[in-house]
């Protein structure tokens, strides 16, 4: 009997009858999240319904020294919820109660499996909404949002998950249920937990801030002949002191894909389209809109469309929101990249991407949150052509190098997960990573919570607490590497 089998027997005893999955065919359906290039069949899957059950599972994992991975809706794009074949996958999809809606305090308390959009839907008719809006908001879970510190198109103005979570009940990697609250004095543990990609524990109850729905929303679509003119418009809008709710840009190839998929009917001949959304008090929006429209014209927009109603707005957003999936219509396979550069470096980085396309003979479609410099290059390839997948992978990696070179980041919202752990040393020094590791060791000294994610090599927390007091025995033995 393996350790995992012994653990499974105890899990079965501790959880409701249908909450433990061991059938191999069923297990395999959990082998990947939204990033399918990494796959691993979990050792066992559990579907707990309460925080106590999650804590019990985590404690049992500790008893048996078995790693565990948390998963919400499985929509992540960095393999953050990639299971361990030797571990337990804890799926929160049955923890989806909205526990409390508290309008006077502008907050809601939800379980981690509740979808992002479900919160907004629950409070919309009272004039409120939950601000972070990742593209997958209709399916992604709040627990996953907390793990990834999800953003969305509107985070330029409204910030990320970390700016909208007021408290979280978490199960620590040693199986304790702890409340992290913005009210507590001392270290902002809540802030550190959000975005830790499941390596510091599992959120089991989340208190989110509800925002007042804006009085007015105006969405504008501007078509340019080329991406440079669009970029110039973005800079000018920011320089004018306008902070739009969102500024999104798509290049010609991305427009072509969206057109093929959803017939979004963007202006013909556009080399780039810019979507600018303004929201807030009506008087401010009118004021800003006049400025944005003028700037777009001055920057060479040859067509501007304005949506006033929800339907017209949806029509403008349709092409943008479908862009990722739509690329499947013009290419057999593709990699979605997620890098960030300072906004002013955008033209240089885009030129760099152009050079890469030529060098490798690989096409790249560009979709990006232009306002905050978050690029989503879609690297297109045909997996049937030998070597093309590898070349695409190279291009994808070199785009990240470009981002780092220009003072940016390897991920703006998709997370590091398993996919980008190897790029972390390009962005951070050994000391930086070591220091982050101290946080990990404080929460999870045994390294059982989502091991192998975020950090490039297995990290060791040492038997005695301390900052690098001599080499760890495993490092000396050459078994593990320490940064």
């Amino acid at each position: 009997m393996t350790e995992l089998e012994r653990l499974t027997a105890r899990l079965t005893a501790a959880l409701p009858p249908d909450a433990v999955i061991t059938d191999p065919v069923r297990l395999r359906t959990y082998e990947c999240d939204g990033l399918t290039v990494h796959r691993a069949t979990p050792g066992v899957v559990v579907l707990p319904e309460t925080a106590e059950q999650v804590a019990a599972v985590v404690r049992l994992c500790g008893d048996h020294g078995v790693p565990f991975v948390a998963r919400g809706s499985g929509t992540g794009l960095s393999g953050g919820a990639l299971p361990r074949t030797d571990g337990v996958l804890i799926v929160t999809s049955r923890m989806r109660r909205i526990i409390e809606i508290d309008i006077p305090n502008r907050r809601a308390v939800v379980e981690p499996g509740v979808t992002n959009l479900a919160i907004t839907e629950a409070v919309r008719d009272r004039g409120y909404y939950y601000a972070p809006d990742p593209s997958s908001q209709q399916v992604c879970s709040i627990g996953g949002n907390v793990a990834e510190n999800s953003g969305g198109a509107h985070c330029l103005k409204y910030g990320f998950t970390v700016n909208h979570v007021l408290a979280a009940e978490i199960v620590t990697p040693d199986g304790e249920i702890v409340e992290l609250s913005a009210h507590d004095p001392g270290y902002d543990l809540l802030g550190a937990f959000i975005g830790s990609e499941g390596t510091l524990g599992i959120a089991t109850k989340i208190t989110v801030r509800l925002s007042r729905a804006p009085e007015a929303v105006t969405t504008l679509l501007a078509a340019f002949t080329g991406i440079e003119a669009g970029g110039q418009a973005v800079s000018a809008i920011i320089a004018a002191g306008v902070v739009p709710a969102a500024i999104e840009m798509m290049d010609a190839l991305a427009i072509e894909a969206a057109e093929a998929a959803v017939h979004c009917r963007y202006p013909a001949g556009a080399g780039a389209v810019l979507i600018v959304e303004l929201d807030g008090p009506r008087a401010e929006v009118e004021h800003e809109f006049a400025a944005v429209e003028r700037i777009c014209r001055d920057s060479g927009a040859f067509e501007i469309r304005v949506a006033a109603s929800a339907e017209e707005r949806a029509a403008i957003w349709k092409g943008r929101k479908s862009a990722f999936a739509a690329v499947g219509r013009i290419s057999p396979a593709y990699i979605v990249q997620d890098g960030v550069v300072p906004r002013t470096a955008l033209p240089r980085v885009l030129a760099g991407i152009d050079r890469l396309q030529e060098e490798y003979g690989i096409r790249v479609a560009n979709v990006f949150h232009a306002g905050d410099g978050n690029l989503h290059p879609l690297v297109l390839f045909d997996d049937a052509v030998p070597g093309e997948a590898e070349r695409a992978e190279d291009v994808s990696g070199r785009i990240l190098d470009l981002c780092i070179e220009h003072g940016g980041s390897i991920t703006g919202e998709h997370g590091v997960g398993v996919d980008k752990a190897r790029y972390m040393p390009r962005m951070f020094t050994g000391d930086d990573l070591d220091t982050m590791q101290l946080v990990r060791c404080a929460f999870d000294p045994r390294g059982l919570a989502n091991p192998g994610k975020v950090f490039p090599t297995p990290r060791l927390c040492g038997e005695v607490p301390g900052v690098r007091k001599g080499a760890h025995p495993l490092v000396e033995a050459g078994i593990a590497e320490q940064f």
């Binding site: 305090n105 004095p185 008090p281 300072p342 991920t411 982050m436 975020v454």
Partner: protein, 425 residues
């Protein structure tokens, strides 16, 4: 005690090449006088100081403007005050990217001057003049606009920190959107110098608003006689709610209640090109008597300055219960509170006049009520030693065991601001 039996500490500090001097009267940390003051000029120099401290087991406390050194618990030991006043450079202001990176010793006023030249600002109000970037983060203090913009942690995008062993580490970066790695900046926010010494920080910026307008009104009877009474028209909660619930996006909703037996002033800040127009609508919500001005009321963004200073954290809707309870606590204890802040954002600051015992009684009553009835907190920011000892400084800290574990990892020998935080952290 560490004293003359360890003279080599001084030599070691001098040996780092960093400017050092003997501590004087003005260098006390919450009543504890350090022996020496080091004045590093770079992250590297901080690291050198910390390595010297590590080698000779010296405890260090960082300071910036020194404006809040008397806040928090006194350190259990303090050999070296690491004064960051020389690290006062704005390293990079990338105006086109709306980002600034500044050394920890830059004061928020100096920073604001640099940013304003480009029509930008760090959209925080810091209610203590002379506060530095490092002090802002270490204490997590914030002023009125926290209602709309949050606190420093919400605008911080990158940080460089020097650990107790001299390791220089950074997290985040200079882009607004970034989820690579743990966010050490968050951890350092509110850390009171117990995890590491912040060397520099990077913030996201906002354009300076085209106009700012305040709508100010006086509420004669802020609260009903007991906390059980409903929010009646004319009372404060009934005035605040329509403002915060309106889609007019006020940037701040503040109250100033200098005497719990007197009237209370409510001031609402509106920012933007159409601020005047929005203020007019707001005035309809707050009542005809409200004044619309382009200057803030004199108390705006200032902490009440008295014998003691408390911070009360609560949910916005607790307003109706918090204010009567504070008045009752005042009457029962004999301490006289002056209350200021934004319950709409969940934070009030309370200045207290009275004898240490009276203040301690007030803290006890207010804290019991806060923790017991609406999951609030009452934290003593500054108080006479006797008050702090009797009433305790921090009150309930839910995740204290986790905080201890973090401290153990970052500073296992307790050489950085030891004991400044709750639970001996």
């Amino acid at each position: 005690m560490h004293n003359q039996d360890m003279p080599d500490g001084w030599d070691a500090l001098k040996g780092t090449g960093v400017a050092v001097r003997t501590a004087g009267d003005g260098d006390e940390v919450a009543g504890v006088r350090p022996r020496w003051v080091a004045l590093p000029e770079s992250a590297g120099e901080i690291a050198a100081v910390m390595r010297a401290c590590a080698a000779h087991d010296l405890a260090a406390v960082p300071t910036g403007g020194g404006t809040k050194l008397h806040w928090g618990a006194p350190p259990t030991r303090c050999d070296v005050l690491v004064d960051l006043c020389c690290m006062n450079r704005v390293i990079e202001h990338a105006a086109g990217d709306l980002v600034v990176r500044a050394q920890a010793g830059v004061t928020v006023e100096a920073l604001a001057g640099v940013l304003a030249a480009e029509g930008q600002e760090l959209a925080l109000d810091v209610p203590v003049p002379g506060t530095t970037v490092g002090g802002l983060l270490a204490t997590g203090i914030a002023g009125p606009r926290r209602f709309r913009r949050g606190t420093a942690r919400d605008l911080l995008i990158g940080v460089t920190v020097v650990l107790a062993d001299g390791t220089i580490a950074k997290s985040g970066g200079k882009v607004v959107k970034n989820v690579a790695g743990y966010d050490l900046g968050k951890l350092l926010t509110g850390s009171y110098g117990t995890l590491g010494i912040i060397a520099d920080a990077t913030f996201r910026l906002h354009p300076l608003p085209a106009a700012r307008v305040w709508v100010t009104t006086t509420v004669a009877r802020p609260v009903t006689e007991t906390e059980r009474a409903p929010a009646v028209a004319g009372f404060l909660p009934a005035t605040v709610a329509p403002v915060t619930e309106s889609p007019l996006e006020p940037s701040a909703v503040e109250i100033d209640w200098p005497d719990v037996d007197g009237p209370c002033t409510l001031a609402v800040l509106v920012e933007g090109a159409a601020a005047a127009e929005r203020a007019k609508t707001l005035r309809e919500l707050t009542g005809e008597a409200a004044e619309v001005t382009e200057e803030p009321p004199p108390w705006w963004n200032r902490l009440p300055d008295d014998d003691a200073l408390l911070e009360l954290r609560a949910c916005p809707a607790a307003l109706a219960r918090v204010l009567p309870a504070l008045r009752e606590a005042a009457h029962a204890s004999g301490a006289r509170p002056a209350i200021r802040g934004s319950l709409a954002a969940g934070t009030l600051h309370i200045g207290l006049r009275g004898r240490p015992g009276q203040i301690a009684d007030f803290v006890g009553l207010a804290r019991d009520h806060a923790e017991g009835t609406y999951d609030g907190r009452v934290i003593v920011l500054a108080a006479p030693e006797e008050t702090a000892r009797r009433a305790g400084i921090w009150g309930r800290v839910g995740a204290l065991p986790l905080m201890r574990r973090v401290k153990e990892r970052f500073d296992p020998d307790h050489r950085l601001s030891p004991g400044r935080l709750a639970g001996g952290v």
